[in-house]
Symmetry: C2
Subunit: 349 residues, 2 copies
């Protein structure tokens, strides 16, 4: 089957979007008609070769919502017409310890990304959600609750699970004091989830305006992190910090906010963090950790939770033709809080 | 009572060592005749004002072994003649959560250091173990097993507990692959304890000679950390890393050695760690943590364990008159692995 896709190109490649082939359906494959696709900062990094040389043409997109159009003969979980999602992964080895534990994102052979991976067992390069349709093994297809706004559910597949997974892993619970550092695509989901889990949520930001926005999303309190007196007042008081800042930064002022034995988890900065002070770790046995998206099982749990609690992302819907402008606006943090592409705009083009 | 002590002076102070007064015995006080005192790098930092302006004259020393000379009227745990020890702390608030949990080193009001603290409830400045004797509340006095070499037991009170506590806290057990990074006063105890706990112990060092020394102490294997191929061969394979390097350093090569969800604990570097890479934390949900000495309860557990397993430090015994030379040799790492002062040399001077 052929498909129409919106691809980022290098001049050295001559494959055109309409020439991109989806594989024929295998036994366990689900063929999905894509309705919406969220726009993640990873899409920009990849399309612009900021994370190494990509396999052009790149079809980005790993926050995919759509309807099942067809299924392979041995698919049991989904049927034609189901509302489904696809996140950041489409394959893993399925037999290492992390895969056995439902943590496919940490697969010891390496997970296969939804786009720009050359290691799929099906051959070729994986192409993502800026496309009319996609074929994915059923084990990497998620069920989307029909009770929530479909287009606003798309970012749950990456921004959602990236914040949900650490909040769950570090056992955030009712009454915990949880800080969410940074208010963007990840941070706004972190605030919503932590609040729904019963935590006392503190938005930690340099911007008073973002602080006010965070209160509208459910934050109980705001800590302006450039104010030394506010930092001092909250010192040694947090049970967990979710750090969504997407670039390298000084984490020391945040570390000093943690109680004894508590953790700050990095989910955004895939970059060096300058001068982490050993004394801040030693003095209160604090932890600096990281977390990568989430496994399929916990992604489904998150989606079910979102269905029950009516949680979705705050999104701005765009047409595929506006994608480059959207990228520019994302770089300036000019979106509340996630762009989602209405794929009708590609189909009708 | 008066005492003789070996003190580091500033020219601005005119109190002489023989004028230093120990307090009169209070209800719960234990008066200890000091036999040996280990020499910790903290002693140098404090005496030389490298950790801020100290309260001169400083009487350093917090690895103290001695015999009980007298006890206050309400002391129940010790009697005259008992072999006892004192480590890094002599008081804490005793009513905060960490104190309640036996983690006095993390006392929310701040533990009172054995020397150079101006916050003792008894007033004055605390003076440490480079001295004929010391008075300490019984709750901060440890019982020393009589089955081990007394002089070699002194460093257990700081170097020992500093490595024991994280190995226990992170539940190192039989069959775990544990790396000890750096071979000095702390590292050599880390190797001995991890081995005694049943771990497969890997000495991680830049020096092949130190690697050979570590094998004599019980290490099963050596990883030369400046060898990229060796680092690669051990990538993602460690259950725990005990990092004893005493200064700021690049931790990224070590982080890459950890398995999913595992921890590297910093116990030496009370300094900034340059450029900790967020991607190394995120990619395998790794933890970078720290740990500070240990509580009184776990220090006693360690000492009892040492009695059962015949574990002591490797020491070089010196006279107090040689202390400045010892400091110079420690700075050059020219000691295997801890200097211990025989306090007879002060008493007889």
């Amino acid at each position: 089957m052929s498909t129409k896709a919106y691809a980022a190109f290098s001049e050295a490649e001559d494959l055109k979007p309409h020439q991109i082939q989806r594989r024929d359906l295998q036994d366990k494959d689900v063929f999905i008609d894509i309705e919406y696709c969220g726009v993640c900062h990873s899409d920009i990094h990849t399309a612009r070769a900021e994370w190494g040389q990509p396999h052009y043409p790149v079809v980005p997109g790993h926050e995919i919502i759509g309807r099942v159009l067809a299924v392979g003969p041995n698919v049991t979980k989904y049927k034609v017409g189901d509302l489904v999602g696809v996140g950041c992964m489409v394959e893993s080895c399925k037999h290492c310890n992390p895969c056995d534990e439902g943590l496919e994102q940490y697969c010891e052979s390496g997970m296969i990304g939804t786009y720009n991976s050359a290691k799929s067992k099906h051959g070729g390069i994986t192409y993502g959600g800026y496309s009319e349709n996609i074929v994915v093994e059923e084990d990497f297809v998620l069920s989307i609750p029909t009770t929530i706004d479909v287009k606003a559910a798309a970012p749950l597949l990456c921004a959602g699970i990236t914040t949900w997974s650490p909040l769950r892993h570090w056992n955030v619970k009712k009454g915990d004091k949880v800080g969410v550092i940074g208010l963007g695509g990840l941070g706004h989901m972190g605030v919503k989830f932590a609040k729904a889990m019963g935590a006392h949520v503190v938005m930690i930001t340099t911007s008073p305006e973002k602080g006010e926005d965070a209160k509208k999303l459910g934050a109980d309190e705001v800590l302006i992190s450039k104010d030394a007196l506010q930092l001092q007042a909250h010192a040694n008081s947090f049970d967990f910090l979710l750090n969504t800042i997407p670039v390298g930064h000084d984490v020391n002022p945040y570390l000093s906010l943690l109680k004894l034995d508590k953790t700050m988890c990095i989910v955004g900065a895939v970059e060096p963090l300058p001068g982490v002070h050993g004394g801040l770790l030693i003095g209160k046995r604090r932890h600096l950790a990281g977390s990568l998206i989430g496994g399929i099982k916990e992604t489904q749990e998150m989606l079910d939770f979102c269905g029950e609690h009516q949680i979705v992302s705050d999104v701005e819907v765009i047409n595929i033709q506006d994608i480059n402008n959207a990228y520019e606006r994302m770089i300036k943090s000019d979106v509340k809080y996630r762009f989602v592409i209405d794929m009708k705009s590609l189909k009708n083009s």
